[in-house]
């Protein structure tokens, strides 16, 4: 055995030891405590702690649950003056004996707040039908900058508070029922989190969101991902500081309305889903005031687009992906979809890059009216789809187009059939923009790109196609 003085790890300066600990992962600290006493003491006073125990799937949590609780008590209780930078504490237990989970978490969070915790990530399951309240001690914690809550689908009750330093808030797997004052999460964010810059709601179910309005002068990034709005909801965001706003795969089960007023907004992603048993696409409305918008993406069924829509003067890239899976094909529905697309395409007419899916061309048969569109991409489900013939009216309106890309939906398998390539080659006359034949056609495979000029003879081309065994990803036309 080596003499202790050669123990190089313990001889490292404390800040370096702590930096090393910051790279450890979940439950590494209790695992490596067994190396030596010195190691254990260094471990338990680490400012970076990441502890997790999940007993939800077990009938009885047993002694492991007690072991976890004891360990947390020990590392949080004996700090020896060392602060806590980051604490991740996930404890999921639904045993009757552990019902006091809420109270214990409160105690632990209190320790962390007393140690000037800066980043806090809490995972807790208060039990079915029970509500969790953000520990009141955090409300006046001056050091707290990041807060994450993961609740495995259980309910959170938001109490008014004052999170002065909170910059980053994430709620995951949470059911938001109501706030103490009845004002909703929007009101809570607007009044309790005055410094918030990043807000992320992931898999959050928002009840009582009839009037969820967030108004903030600090918020920069707002992400709603896989959130659910079971009741008629109005989401209104007013912020002069907001730069990025995304709603990805958000489900509206009833009526929905989204209103965005953000002078500095640069990126906007709207991606909504309606429940199939209530195809209420006509009842979804959105209105956007965002004069600084640079990038805009829409995915979802046709919706009501407000008439007094502002134009996006600075738009650089736009993407529209229409979904008509539960669409009833009555003439009123088609008319509705046409009007929606006309409004949407009109508002993005300053863009330089545009991506559309083929569904769009099933409802929109007019020439595209764009000021300076350079690059158009059309996403198809299958290359065999014959819908591309309806692209030609659209192309006629595009005077400045320099490339047209036909590409496969990323969700689909890549085509490897030489017949498809042959078909595309035969059809090339269809992709003529404003009587300008493509100057070059490129077949793009996963690994490389093969170019063909207009002078290419059919015979040589067909020979090449028949020998082709590579997977085709997209075809690009250069004008």
């Amino acid at each position: 055995m080596e003499v202790p003085s050669e123990d190089r790890f313990s001889d490292l300066p404390n800040p370096v030891i702590h930096l090393i600990f910051s790279y450890l992962e979940t439950n590494d600290i209790p695992r490596i405590s067994g190396i030596s006493r010195k190691f254990r003491d260094a471990c338990t006073s680490s400012p970076y702690l990441d502890l997790e125990a999940d007993f939800l799937a077990l009938k009885r949590c047993g002694s492991n649950c007690q072991g976890f609780q004891d360990f947390v008590h020990r590392v949080l209780g004996r700090r020896n003056g060392v602060g806590i930078h980051r604490l991740r504490l996930s404890w999921f237990c639904a045993q009757p004996y552990c019902k006091r989970a809420g109270a214990l978490i409160d105690d632990w969070v209190k320790y962390a707040a007393d140690c000037n915790v800066q980043e806090l990530d809490i995972g807790v399951f208060p039990g079915d039908g029970e509500l969790f309240v953000i520990p009141p001690c955090l409300s006046n914690c001056q050091s707290l900058r990041e807060l994450t809550l993961n609740m495995k689908g259980s309910g959170l009750l938001l109490q008014p508070g004052f999170f002065a330093s909170l910059v980053d808030l994430t709620l995951t797997n949470v059911e938001l029922c109501a706030t103490f004052s009845g004002g909703g999460i929007g009101h809570w964010i607007s009044t309790s989190c005055k410094s918030l810059k990043f807000l992320c709601l992931y898999k959050v179910t928002c009840y009582r969101s009839k009037d969820m309005s967030i108004s903030s002068s600090s918020l920069q990034h707002l992400n709603l991902c896989a959130c659910e709005f079971p009741e008629a909801s109005k989401l209104s965001i007013t912020s002069a500081s907001l730069q990025h706003f995304s709603m990805r795969r958000c489900l509206f089960k009833e009526q929905g309305k989204v209103v965005v007023r953000a002078e500095r907004l640069e990126n906007l992603i709207v991606d909504v889903v309606f429940s199939s048993d209530f195809p209420n696409y006509r009842r979804f409305q959105f209105s956007i005031f965002a004069p600084s918008l640079v990038s805009f993406s829409w995915r979802g069924p046709p919706a009501s687009y407000s008439d007094n829509l502002e134009h996006f003067w600075r738009l650089d890239e736009a993407s529209i992906s229409l979904e008509t899976l539960h669409f009833h094909h009555t003439w009123q529905d088609k008319e509705f979809a046409r009007n929606f697309l006309a409004g949407l395409l009109h508002s993005v007419r300053y863009t330089r890059t545009l991506k559309l899916n083929t569904e769009v061309f099933a409802y929109y048969h007019h020439p595209g009216v764009f000021v300076d569109l350079k690059h158009l991409a059309v996403v198809v489900r299958r290359f065999e789809e014959d819908q591309d013939q309806t692209i030609s009216p659209f192309l006629r309106g595009l005077r400045n187009l320099s490339t047209l890309t036909i590409k496969l939906d990323a969700d689909n398998d890549v085509v490897a059939d030489p017949n498809v390539i042959a078909l595309l080659w035969m059809r090339r006359q269809r992709y003529v923009a404003k009587n300008r034949k493509p100057r070059k056609i490129a077949f793009c495979f996963h690994e490389n790109e093969e170019d063909f000029g207009p002078g290419e003879d059919n015979e040589g081309m067909l020979k090449w196609i028949l020998e082709c065994e590579k997977a085709l990803g997209k075809v690009k036309f250069y004008y």
């Binding site: 080596e2 300066p13 370096v16 930096l19 490596i32 030596s36």
Partner: protein, 161 residues
């Protein structure tokens, strides 16, 4: 900052603990916050800067890292990342500890981070006995105590041997 750009070709001399001198271009030296602060405060670059805690072998490694990062433009982040992972790949623990101490002393954040990460990875992925051997850590637990600690923290070993 303006002066450092004007005098881009200026060189300075660093002296290791074992007396070896290294001639370093100024923009390379600026990767180190310590040297940057010394140059910002009136320290003349004509002087030899002694680094009494860093031996020649470690200093050569450190300067190799600094040169790569100073010369690469910010657009080549991918190239730098692969350089970083290659840089520490087959390094023995003694050299790695010298490196982490040097990076800490010279305040080179990027190097300190990758070295700390490497040490953390070594600790968490290996069996305790192997970690003890690598770091020369004396096991001051009695066998009974060690078993008790392991039993106490059994909850953390779910899915671990």
């Amino acid at each position: 900052m303006a002066s450092s750009i004007e005098n881009n070709n200026e060189k300075l001399t660093l002296k290791s603990s074992d007396g070896e001198e290294f001639l370093v271009e100024k923009h390379v030296a600026l990767q180190s916050t310590l040297l940057q602060n010394m140059l910002d405060s009136d320290c003349s670059s004509a002087d030899v800067i002694p680094l009494p805690k860093i031996d020649a072998r470690t200093l050569a490694l450190v300067l190799g890292y600094c040169k790569k990062h100073a010369d690469a433009s910010s657009s080549k982040q991918g190239e730098l990342n692969s350089f970083d992972s290659e840089f520490l790949k087959d390094m023995d623990m003694g050299a790695l500890f010298n490196l982490v101490l040097a990076a800490n002393f010279m305040e080179i954040k990027g190097l300190l981070d990758i070295a700390a990460q490497k040490i953390a990875d070594t600790i968490k992925d290996k069996p305790h006995q192997e970690v003890r051997e690598i770091f020369h850590v004396e096991n001051d637990y009695t066998p009974e105590e060690e078993a008790a600690v392991r039993e106490e923290n059994r909850w953390a070993f779910e899915g671990f041997p």
